[in-house]
Symmetry: D2
Subunit: 337 residues, 4 copies
């Protein structure tokens, strides 16, 4: 932590700042400049609130010079994290495709879509049984019945299952049916939920919150890692900006940034990021070109009658055509699916 | 709902749009302009996803012309909502002050601060027993022990208690000790939690999410109201912007906007909005001048050793001085505390 | 400037960083912590691009610990700047009111509104002769004819004139008619224009850009100050956020922040910040309560036929009523108009 | 334009709204729904301020159902615009590469870099002679001397020249030396400048403002088109968000959106969007995959001593390697350079 003192700071104020730092357990170094005195405080704890120093008399500014996350940082864990689930490896050499419907709507629907997913060569089937909806009047998901459908469909076609956990009481239930937990954007800072998931050893995909910075996203990953669950990967799904022509702004630069700051794999979800079908293919292509470890894409054979997010779902044939294009781009950047 | 067709839309495309609208249960009116055909679709349901029409061939744009919330809207309930809790009325003629520490830290701490709160004339004591913290390494609250302390302190000084509920499993426990539930910014779209709180009849203060629009905030209130709990009031606490000199940007224009769109009372929390002590008084004054129904202010007699958010807490004497100033401003706008 | 090195930085990399710093003219101090080495580089110039160090091998992060502006900073000039223009003092004990139409539309219009402004007790008349419009098809202002009208009206009622300068070639012309230049939000970073205005000694009100941080705003003020014109004051007019119910988000916390970081007076423009008439009074009240040095309010006696921004203009009687309320709030915060 | 009336609107209020609409020249249609009356107003002019209706008594909401731009819209001009400059075609089948230094620093520097640009196969050389800098103390460019250097270097290697115009008085001078004008992000709404450039017939690349929506960007293009200059193309260069790990957020979804809404070609500038060298290659790859018509990349053979933006410049060998990768991605999406 670095503390810059006001040019007008008195000796008494400076001594008071140093006393506080020492009381908080820091080792203090000072460095006198032309314009201002700068203190270096060594030994900052991840949870130290730097405003405690900022409010002291004579302090101009305080900078935390180490990231507030540790287990999630590449410094701590220089090698890429690879998560092995049956025959699928996340974060390895191959890009991983997740596909399926937004919501599980019926036995038949998820079965038909699982067939498409398997045919395309993807390995993981998505589908929501418990849906976070902004309106209380919207379809809220089939619950356990839906979980049964997706597990059966996945087993039929040799796929893994990922599905969203919205509350603590669903963890045990979902663990019975799914291979991977998904934590949605709106729950990225549901710290109670993160802690409980950290106490399991089930792989978990943590989506970025709509207005979360990358640092906060990695802090949320830290919650799960700190609980002992090291099978965490991330998923960029668009952030909120003032742009109105898109549902969200797909922040693709988050992909190389996460790879630099952290060892965790990072996926991209162009379906939620753009919110509209014809934007999904160009943004999926861009995500592969930017280095994503995997993609998550929503599909539906009858999007007009989908119970949620139909307008962003690709038709099976559009999805298969896109997947073929993505394989070419992967090759162009030295990767494969 | 209004549908604008492309200038180049064919008759076939137009008939297809109309057929879809009718299939979704709308009554359709059309209006031919110079440049484009406009369809009016009557009978939109609150949860209708307008993108279902937007993706059809020949459609240029779709506008929802009614708010997606109903119970929370002033159209539905023209009179101001007033919530009566013992001798305190929220949303009535008087501005209501909530004060207290960020976290409950000890029996003594909350007792001393409750005394200050009571002496100032405020009626509601705040204090967190379960804390949502961005870092897993930060103080997470005293739990039930803290609830006991704050209840005892409030009873001693004739105050009401407000405290935050972070997860469903805490609802029953907190209901035993508190008079008002607080739903924090990071849980504003924790829909599972909102539904469960909607099933109680305990008054609830719903904070605005860091990047929530006012419409989304009112939709979250709708979740609670739709569950049958009509004792909801709101609290503006700052939104995320690109400005770096403040922790958040205090969106005071939310106050008159909420009063126009909704019948629910709206409070303001200058402590979280600004995040730093010397910004709290000017922003508290501004909130009263803007028409807030109440304020929530953090205080601490030893902010340097507070276990959370000490840097934004006012000292008891600063708080009492500010409260006196606020009374003058209230008077200037024809109100009182 | 503070440089944090990677934990894995080699001696060679560290020496390379130090060599670069010295080559750029810095005096370097180093401070070894438990986790990382921190370098303090003394003597940073206001225009030094810190990314030059950030890109070197072994560097984790770089922090500039002094503000990039100097002449605009309170450190450099601890006393409040007061700008005296005839009998009006900006930045002094009294709050200053600027009022008038958005655009000058006719001799009669500006004359009638000047009469209202004078009657209310305000001292400065606003009105645009050159208008920055987002559409090329919108009314672009009366030009020099408008300047003649506003000067004549102001002289008749003993008022000062403020009007916007949009391009360098207008400076001399406007200087003949106006007492104060206004630089609009969209020109806040029109550096060519700022430089030319810095070469005059005419007082200038610099509006904050729609997405400018306070630091960038003060850097733009620095451009004018660096040119030798010290008669600069600022005006907050709302920033862009994702909120859709308001035209912009009025960032009132900018007022106390500017007062802390800078010696320049800061005004508030609730008309542009909110964009709609019924939001203007509560936000004007809030601005006074937050400590603004002045306000700028748009008025029109026939807003329905105003050639620009009619919907945000107050009627003369609304304006006079509001001004009376503002005087009460000013009194409540120990100030006056 | 669509006007939704309040459920409580009286007949008198409704008649008043209709009278206003007719007075403003609209043809009015009405459509009675279950909950509310909706009026369709036909014949809206591009510059009509919808707030004029929104402020009338009884009006709940007003929606403009046609885009405020016309000449820039794909409706008006369904074919892609192609701009032919000597042997280069912008907006055609081939992706166009622009490369060169941020600032022109010397005869030798621009000559050496032009050689690299030509060797790579790119056709357009960039370089700033007049620099918009946030600090008045930063290098402001070589002016006409720089223009001479870049023209000479381009002629030597058969390249076109693009350079930024910051103010009206530079237009004639720059027109003598450059093939393409660049309008920078900070001048995107410098309407005076846009108008003057619209009066020339020189091709112009219009960068997106830091906080501009795509609609506003197209409105700025409309200014130039309305002046009679149809040789306009766009360039996405990152928008401002709350993310702190990147300089800006590169909004790649703007590329397919512009292609949908407009006929104008759209380029991408990963150097300014990311601001740091190691982010440039992944984002350049993503831009090609997303469908950009061209790229603009900054290069320097000695970035440590570059007078501006050195940290985001690629070394010549990095640039050439990247260009080769981009050709593979172009091929994967069915295009070429």
């Amino acid at each position: 932590m670095v503390i810059v003192l006001e040019q007008t700071a008195t000796d008494e104020q400076i001594q008071n700042v140093i006393r506080h730092l020492e009381e908080y357990g820091f080792e203090v170094h000072s460095s006198k400049g032309v314009q201002s005195l700068v203190l270096g405080a060594i030994g900052v704890k991840p949870d130290f609130d730097t405003r405690k120093i900022k409010v002291l008399q004579g302090v101009a500014d305080v900078y935390r010079v180490t990231a507030p996350f540790k287990l999630a940082s590449r410094n701590f864990h220089p090698e890429n994290t690879k998560i092995k689930i049956k025959d699928v490896e996340i974060g390895g050499d191959k890009i991983v495709m997740i596909a399926g419907p937004c919501s599980i709507e019926s036995d038949e629907q998820v079965f038909k879509l699982a067939e498409t997913v398997a045919k395309s060569g993807a390995k993981i089937l998505r589908g929501g049984a418990f849906k976070p909806r902004t309106s209380p009047y919207s379809f809220q998901g089939l619950g356990e019945e839906g979980l049964k459908y997706i597990r059966a469909a996945a087993d039929e076609f040799g796929l893994l299952v990922i599905t969203e956990v919205m509350q603590i009481s669903q963890i045990d239930l979902i663990a019975k049916y799914a291979d991977i937990f998904q934590v949605g954007a709106r729950n990225m800072q549901n710290f109670s939920l993160l802690k409980e998931i950290g106490a399991t050893d089930k792989p978990v995909m943590l989506k970025r919150g709509l207005s979360a910075t990358i640092e906060e996203w990695l802090m949320s990953a830290e919650y799960i890692l700190a609980g002992g669950n090291s099978n965490v990967f991330l998923c960029e799904r668009g952030i909120r900006t003032f742009e109105k022509y898109t549902r969200n702004t797909f922040d693709l630069s988050a992909i190389p940034i996460v790879h630099k700051k952290s060892h965790l794999p990072v996926f991209a979800d162009p379906s939620h990021a753009t919110g509209i079908r014809d934007q999904v293919p160009p943004m999926a292509r861009a995500a592969v070109a930017a280095g994503a470890d995997g993609l998550m894409i929503e599909i539906h054979y009858d999007p007009e009658h989908a119970l949620s997010d139909g307008p962003q779902a690709l038709l099976p044939e559009e999805y298969i055509r896109l997947y073929d294009e993505l394989k070419l781009i992967a090759k162009a950047v030295g990767k494969s699916f």
